[in-house]
Symmetry: C2
Subunit: 338 residues, 2 copies
């Protein structure tokens, strides 16, 4: 029974249900506009560990445990974990789950990983390969700055186009049966590279990929912006958000007020000095697992188009003069089955 539709999308014959979610964020995110939505806010960036990377590992492990608890499941119920993070060789994720004894698919989609993991975790269920799956991702401001940019101790000045990597981890448990919300459709992104080379302007680098996935989503499913209460990208920030709006409008789709970006929502750019907004795998992950799913429960949203965005660069590709390819994966989350 084929479940695919159009060029890049799937409409699930048996939409998986989101059974539970977990969200943990760092202190800065805990002072932002979404602070009351998160399960847990850390008091400091190390969380009792001796390195930032070990703190990120703990974030992943604990957000997964929260998702399991809220789903009323144990790790033994989970057939597959789909997860990854920004650290080289995904060490936050792999060290987090090494005691879990659960089959694992390691993913790298940069900051689009929450989209990638939910897509594959949903396919595993709707394809008849699992009853329960877990999808998760994380990022840590200090670890990301250290790995991708400059040592924090330098106190480097950040340009206004730069975004602020979110410290946080989000996880969801998906199930074959459940009361919803449901993952009803997905559009898998392809790599789009329009030649942006400035790693301090990732919003601009990722906007064309996000626009590409969104327009393809509308075409594949025969929908328009009016079919969703909210269309929310991952971490384009304010500059990327505006660019994407223009690109999508050129294709004939007008993005009305229900269009925003997790990186815009998670920080107050005016008071929190985060410049263009939040970013990192954790940005879209905790905005979904904290804010969006809660507001779906509250009946504010019934149909969300969630589009995490990723910039597929490395320090080495930038050093070698390469541009920054982007990718974006879209996930439709609906309160009711359709």
């Amino acid at each position: 029974m084929d479940q695919y539709i159009g060029k890049q999308s799937i409409k699930f014959t048996n939409p998986p249900s989101i059974l539970g979610a977990g969200s943990i964020v760092g202190p800065k995110e805990g002072k932002g506009p979404l602070r009351d939505y998160f399960d847990q806010v850390l008091q400091d960036d190390l969380w009792g560990e001796d390195t930032w990377e070990k703190a990120e590992t703990k974030l992943v492990k604990e957000s997964m445990k929260l998702a399991l608890k809220h789903a009323n499941k144990t790790i033994e119920d989970i057939r597959y974990i789909f997860a990854g993070d920004l650290l080289n060789q995904l060490v936050a994720t792999t060290f987090a789950i090494r005691e879990f004894n659960t089959p694992f698919f390691g993913l790298y989609g940069a900051c689009s990983t929450m989209g990638e993991s939910i897509q594959l975790a949903s396919m595993a269920i709707s394809g008849g390969f699992a009853d329960y799956t877990l999808a998760a991702t994380s990022s840590h401001f200090c670890g990301a700055e250290k790995q991708f940019r400059f040592p924090l101790e330098y106190g480097s000045q950040r340009p206004l186009t730069a975004t602020w990597t979110v410290t946080g981890s989000g996880a969801v448990v998906l199930g074959k049966q459940g009361q919803g919300p449901f993952v009803t459709a997905i559009t898998t992104g392809k790599i789009v590279d329009l030649g942006i080379t400035d790693p301090m302007n990732m919003g601009a680098a990722m906007a064309p990929a996000a626009a590409d996935t969104l327009v393809q989503h509308f075409k594949d499913l025969g929908t328009s912006p009016d079919d969703y209460d909210l269309i929310i990208t991952g971490d384009l920030g304010s500059i990327g958000n505006q660019l994407m709006k223009e690109l999508v409008e050129k294709e004939g789709y007008y993005l009305h007020q229900g269009f925003t970006d997790c990186g815009i929502e998670i920080f107050d750019a005016n008071t929190q000095d985060t410049h263009a907004g939040g970013s990192g795998c954790g940005c879209s992950a905790v905005t979904l697992t904290g804010y969006l799913l809660q507001e779906m429960k509250n009946d504010k949203y019934k149909s969300i188009l969630f589009i995490p965005t990723g910039a597929l660069l490395s320090t080495l590709s930038t050093q070698q003069g390469e541009s920054i390819p982007g990718i974006a994966h879209a996930v439709v989350i609906q309160k009711y089955k359709g």
Copy 2:
């Protein structure tokens, strides 16, 4: 229709067919025992590029093109690419496919990536999500030494437990219909960490994960070593191979002469100075796409259990005193549907 079986395995209701494969290797691999099986052997490690990483990107792109050609398909036929590599943020893969315009799932399973990619590419087909998928991976000796170990210019002495990262890329095109060989079953690995901390002895670090997946595979499918013409792990090398044999025999399964490792087969350790054997994502990938699939055509093998193995460390995890978690993903490839 549930396709899973036992704790960690899937027996495909509609086994995907391997329609075509591509294999390209570096000069050293081209002097090894399997030299006549590869589609292409490079004359030098740079292949006309100005960096090793760009050469690896070219390896991925060209091995994918070869797989497509041998499958008599074009990239437009492919619904999803499942791929990844060892370089930080998977830049060999992402830069290789950025012009392909194909939906992409980025994977990181260290040297188990060929197993991970074939598993997910097969699930996508048997789950009704795609007619054609592409699975691939790569590694490059020079890029891996530079990133994980020491600058080549140091001329560091390698201990006898060390393996030699294969320069090469392998790709397969999978299809819903076809004449075989078929991917009939898979067993997805979980992370196993018995506390090995020596990054120069990765065979020992990965052997417990390989043994765990293999034993679970036998239990889930109710099979034994006698059911396969060949059981071949990814890159345990000679030391890991022996360790794994002992671990599996402790569980009551005797691994007879049809048991080996891609890292043992690809180099002649006596004359090529590769110590414990070959390793890297490319090791199992090219051994499969070059040697194994060819010998299946020649009727030497009818049923192969292929188990790529990965060590989930990073330079940072080692610097922070962590041990080396391993993972192994098993894939059953059969000449006939069963």
